[in-house]
């Protein structure tokens, strides 16, 4: 019996590791549909594409970890059905395994463009292929000016390729950052020689492009849960304990939406922080230490030498103030709603990002004027 974790990404791995760290003694089965041991995805669109990092650096733990921790790792296997009444998971091999508790960490998959000949980046296998194709390409077109698209653009440009980015919105990373941050990144990419076409359609694809890559968002993998009769809308719906209405089934990471105290609504997040913290939270719940999930969300992206770190959720902001001068290449942007701090984006200001995480977690009364004033010590607003 024991715990079955479906999904061998960052969240699934962490759930297994945290269960053992919390003293869970029963059987743990971790099912992943990719070959090989679980790995981290963030480097794939950064150092890995540049050839600075090798595959073994992306692996979260060596194979021996799973043996010593008694985690049964089933790789290259997909779960095809959940029978909640007999508490069994069916695998694509036909095997059925029983659980006491089931953790769904099924992640998300890339949204696809119609037609063939477009490349995507999510898995290690895709990264290995893309790295080779990038080397051979002359002119690269990237559809989507979000994190993934812009990280790939930065890598391709660093490799000396001609690069065009097509963004359907009037500005870059429009879903997650304020216009001042979008504009900063547009200028930086332009200065590096990337051509950015905003308000673009696929008809704007440059004719000479010999490699087309799309990074246009993801869809949560909720189908297995839905087929088992569990509710889902933008991801598998869970409560503040990350539990589905079936008390033996949890969902974590990119595949789930949960009530988020920093958004005051249900939110589905796609980040390492979210996957790791939710996994640890579920491991505590399974070992009898349940507490509502309330971690401050944070994210990061690296493009060239620009390190953007984001804390909190800016949804519905009505005021934005900038601390520091963007021309100095080090500044932060504070998002307020109804006078309350909601989120902070820090560009090459790691210390301010860390303070921001604390300010948001503490629901700081920091005012926009204080945020703007560099002589004001942010820590005094904690």
């Amino acid at each position: 019996m024991g715990v079955i974790i479906i999904g061998g990404g960052q969240g699934g791995f962490q759930a297994a590791a945290s269960l053992r760290a919390e003293g869970y003694e029963e059987r743990i089965t971790l099912i992943g549909d990719e070959p090989g041991v679980p790995y981290q995805r963030p480097p794939l669109s950064k150092g890995f594409l540049l050839g600075k990092q090798e595959q073994r650096h992306a692996e979260l733990r060596p194979a021996s970890f799973y043996e010593t921790q008694r985690i049964e790792l089933l790789t290259g296997r997909r779960a095809t059905a959940i029978d909640r009444f007999s508490r069994r998971v069916t695998l694509d091999s036909g095997a059925k395994i029983e659980y006491d508790t089931l953790v769904l960490a099924t992640g998300a998959r890339n949204r696809l463009l119609p037609g063939n000949g477009v490349f995507y980046l999510r898995t290690l296998a895709e990264a290995v292929e893309l790295r080779q194709r990038l080397r051979d390409a002359n002119q690269v077109a990237i559809v989507g000016g979000g994190f993934i698209g812009l990280e790939i653009a930065a890598a391709a440009r660093t490799l000396g390729k001609k690069v065009t980015v097509l963004e359907a919105q009037p500005r870059l990373m429009a879903r997650v950052v304020a216009p001042v941050v979008s504009e900063y990144f547009r200028e930086q990419h332009a200065a590096q020689g990337v051509e950015i076409r905003r308000n673009a359609t696929l008809e704007d694809l440059p004719r000479g492009a010999d490699l087309v890559i799309a990074g246009i968002g993801v869809l949560p993998n909720s189908e297995l849960a839905i087929a088992a009769g569990l509710p889902a809308s933008n991801g598998i719906t869970v409560d503040e304990h990350l539990r589905t209405p079936d008390e033996r089934i949890y969902a974590i990471g990119d595949c789930c939406e949960c009530p988020n105290p920093f958004a005051e609504t249900y939110v589905r997040l796609e980040s390492v922080q979210n996957a790791v913290d939710q996994a640890a939270s579920v491991a505590r719940a399974i070992t009898g230490q349940a507490k509502p999930y309330s971690a401050v969300p944070w994210f990061w992206t690296d493009q060239y030498d620009i390190h953007l770190q984001m804390a909190g959720l800016p949804f519905g902001y009505d005021q934005v103030v900038t601390r520091g001068n963007p021309e100095s290449r080090k500044f932060s942007v504070f998002y307020f709603r109804e006078g309350r701090l909601r989120a902070v984006d820090s560009i090459n200001r790691a210390a301010e990002h860390l303070t921001a995480r604390k300010l948001i977690g503490a629901r700081s009364p920091l005012s926009p004027d204080q945020a703007r004033d560099e002589s004001f010590d942010l820590k005094t607003a904690l």
């Binding site: 733990r61 060596p62 990061w300 790691a350």
Partner: protein, 117 residues
């Protein structure tokens, strides 16, 4: 079999000592970080939640004083991160993801803190 013909120039030995005094010595390839050396060898006491991106301060170590002069100065990001470690920051605190192994670091000894989270 690999270890037989790989000399210590390419595979410096790094020793990790836990807060309870358990010592593990492992060979870490030049170019890898001290954090990666721990993770690849299942050394306890280093969590490395963010995977070596200088984002989480869960790979905190105390470096034995005699090796400090061999290390690069603490960068701005690392300095900020070290302010958030779960165990107290000391003058010899470093993030092990920011220590890249070089031949001169053969024999490096680091102590892992009682807690990382």
């Amino acid at each position: 079999m690999l270890g037989d013909n790989v000399n210590s120039l390419n595979m410096p030995k790094i020793t990790y000592i836990s807060h309870t005094g358990n010592a593990r010595t492992v060979e870490v390839p030049v170019g890898d970080t001290v954090m990666e050396g721990a993770v690849q060898n299942n050394v306890d006491g280093i969590v490395a939640e963010c995977g070596g991106n200088c984002q989480c301060a869960t790979c905190h170590v105390y470096v034995e004083e005699r090796f400090l002069p061999l290390l690069d100065p603490i960068g701005e990001d690392q300095d900020a991160m070290l302010e958030t470690t779960a165990s107290p920051r000391k003058s010899n605190s470093r993030l092990s993801c920011q220590i890249r192994v070089r031949p001169e670091l053969d024999g490096l000894v680091v102590h892992t803190p009682p807690t990382q989270q």
